[in-house]
Symmetry: C2
Subunit: 463 residues, 2 copies
């Protein structure tokens, strides 16, 4: 193991340079204009996998963006891990708020800046570089490993589910590994054992058939923006609770013990507030911030537009107004049931004067794991070796629906080893990844594969 560790420590400059190439490809999955870039990114990554010695590397076309599969399976009697990650990224807009171009990786004050650097290109690369270190120095890996890296994580992962359904045999493994989450804070290595689910919706309200002069028609016709605001205002009650009837019915309440554990974490509300830059933290009455963002379901409007949005004033009544909004779900909420409740509520709120169109963008389940599982404990030990510090167990407010599906449908344990930080702007301008976390991440993941290799396969299999 020592030569693997030495190799990793000697190659940090190359690790930055290669990540720069990866981040230079604008693999924005939500925009059709970037379809070719997404494909180009998939091929670049596949080529890189071949170069470091992975086998059966394949770029698999889907109805959307391609999936990359690779493996290395020459460790008989050892457990098999399946790495899941994604090479697609969020749109970079608003561009004017970036301090360096979003697709030019830039090192500034100890952080690497680029769209996708932490979500999830840098974290996928952490695994590739750890695997490379073993293959280059020992000619083999301490475990059997499979990799499935997709290009639609930011748009609902629709085609990965189909792929998993069709390729159960090829994807068989003892444990799923994901690095797409954050640490609790700088210097606190963290194992994530819970994720929220996500349902993403879009509502369009149409009033008049075309834009109208607000003087000649104002007061006599339904204004779709007024209507949409009134509808959206009725999604929460004054206590910050989601006001959709039945929304909380299946929520598993936090136990006293869980709440105690959450309180004991080194989580600073003040620091969190500073990270957001908000004047005040708000949320569901009766819960702490950590509880609100990790263990309680929420609803946020992600985008809203209608009428004249340019410079200056235009006296118009717009024909249409649109809201994009999403719910974050916790165990045991069912996305399909939540979608039904939301749709029903929206239909109930829509006045007869307007036409309302309701659309579901994506649905993903929440997940919580038992953290005494051997693979999860191997993750903890690896982080503690890599960072030289005690690790904590945390949950994450974000969503990786695939983790839930793997856990539920394939009966496999998942371990989430994230190397991001909460203030690294994963979906915002100036996305970044701390360089030290990137390099210690590679080390930790090398330790992780080593630790899993010491776990007997049957134990890993005992999910």
């Amino acid at each position: 193991m020592q030569n693997v560790v030495d190799f990793i420590q000697a190659n940090s400059d190359r690790y930055i340079g290669e990540l720069r190439e990866f981040c230079a490809i604008p693999s924005v999955s939500t925009k059709s204009e970037h379809k070719k870039d997404v494909e180009r990114c998939a091929h670049w990554l596949a080529e890189h996998m071949r170069k470091i010695g992975l086998e059966h590397v394949e770029v698999i076309p889907t109805q959307g963006h391609p999936i990359i599969y690779a493996d290395w399976l020459h460790a008989p009697g050892k457990p098999t891990t399946l790495l899941y990650g994604h090479y697609d990224v969020q749109p970079p807009e608003p561009l004017e708020l970036w301090e360096s171009p979003p697709f030019e990786l830039t090192l500034r004050d100890g952080d690497l800046y680029a769209r996708g650097v932490v979500d999830d290109k840098g974290q996928v690369f952490i695994h590739l570089k750890a695997l490379e270190a073993f293959l280059r120095n020992t000619g083999r890996l301490p475990v059997n490993t499979k990799l499935m890296i997709e290009g639609e994580e930011e748009v609902g992962s629709e085609n990965v589910y189909k792929f998993m359904e069709a390729e159960k045999k090829r994807l068989e493994a003892d444990a799923l590994v994901v690095s797409d989450t954050s640490m609790l804070g700088k210097g606190i290595p963290s194992v994530c054992y819970g994720l929220r689910g996500l349902c993403y919706f879009e509502v369009e309200v149409q009033g008049p058939a075309q834009d109208l002069h607000s003087g000649s028609f104002g007061g006599g016709v339904p204004n779709p923006i007024n209507v949409l605001c009134e509808m959206m205002a009725k999604l929460h009650d004054p206590d910050g609770r989601v006001a959709i009837p039945g929304f909380y019915n299946d929520v598993r309440a936090l136990t006293k013990k869980e709440r105690q554990q959450l309180r004991r974490l080194p989580f600073s509300e003040k620091r969190f507030q500073e990270t957001t830059g908000a004047r005040k933290l708000v949320g569901e009455k009766g819960y702490s911030t950590v509880e609100r963002i990790w263990a309680r379901p929420t609803l946020d409007i992600n985008g809203l537009f209608g009428g004249y949005t340019g410079e200056g004033a235009k006296t118009v009544i717009g024909s249409k107004a649109t809201a994009k909004f999403s719910t974050r779900l916790v165990p045991n909420q069912e996305p399909a049931k939540i979608t039904r409740l939301v749709r029903k509520h929206i239909e109930r709120l829509a006045p007869p004067s307007v036409k309302v169109t309701f659309r579901v963008h994506s649905e993903g389940k929440p997940w919580v794991a038992p953290f005494d599982h051997p693979v999860v404990q191997a993750g903890r030990r690896a982080l503690e070796k890599g960072f030289g510090k005690k690790a904590v167990f945390i949950r994450e407010g974000g969503s990786i629906p695939l983790v839930t599906t793997m856990y539920e449908e394939l009966g496999k344990p998942c371990v989430l080893l994230g190397f991001g930080l909460p203030d690294e702007n994963a979906h915002a301008p100036n996305e970044r990844m701390n360089l030290e976390n990137y390099l210690k991440g590679i080390l930790s993941i090398a330790y992780f594969y080593d630790e899993v290799g010491r776990t007997p396969a049957p134990a890993a299999r005992a999910a």
Copy 2:
């Protein structure tokens, strides 16, 4: 007069061709990128005025867009009219909804299509062509006339007020004439005797200092779009009344007689609804549509945007959300007072978790005239001659704040002779003007100047 009428009837093709040139200049006053186009439009129009024989033509620079002044003052003992109009236009967006390019005048099924064709370029041109017909055929005009055509009507007319303040002498007249309104319907020549006022506002809500990942932060921070929707939803009560305390305090109630007159007008709610394309007409409880749009104050959100507004889904909590909204005012509401009430209400609605910025774009007074004034009656007679039909007296939901100022501060009567139609998309894609109304408008306005010339100057002065 007969040779003037014959001349007008023989020149309709030229009247279309010249209007095409006028409409080809994208004089969009609200967008700074069009500043040069607006200036070019002013010079084109001034040159045209010189060509038809108007005198003292001047393009007067302002802190914003230029004002054009011209006159012809060789009719001693006759009244002096002041024509007010504007050569600036609304933005053409959304471009994809135009069936022909917005700045290429196109004749289709009896209508002329172009941005600004009816609001107000075509209607300004109606006057120029009527004046031209007199000057070409008789070498003189039946009245003294002054023209003030501005380039900032669509953005609040700020600099025209300063100009009027500074140039009282130059603008002295017996009556103001404006053609910037609509007829009640096709084939119904209409004299407009009332306009609503306008206050236009913008509110920006800032939550976090930058966009945040809606998974990692959702439920723990103030979402500015959620907040803005909740604020905007509180601007109306369930009866469709504006819910701003004090908003209705100064509204002059409609008398029984006024309501009777409005009911007798050939106004079809069904036809109006078809024009808008809305499923249902809505508005303030207890009032008819005509009352709502002409004689009751209203509030509409004209534009709203925040978060991700592109294609697909983005799981973001936006940093900011913005609403543009405006109130239409009726006598005796005072814009400055309304602005104070709205500002106070917005401040009261803003929760302490967000930063709210309130901005006033423009303020303009409402206006109602006595319709027995000699100049107004001259207008009625002229329309009846031009269209060969009985004219009606109507009000207009839109705003021309300058009319009010002229009426109040200079003590001069105003006559509003509009040749638009309510469904001509003045502020929307596919703006159009009915060709027959354009040509009959030129004829009517020629009769109007003739009629005013027969009114003794002192009578016209007895406002």
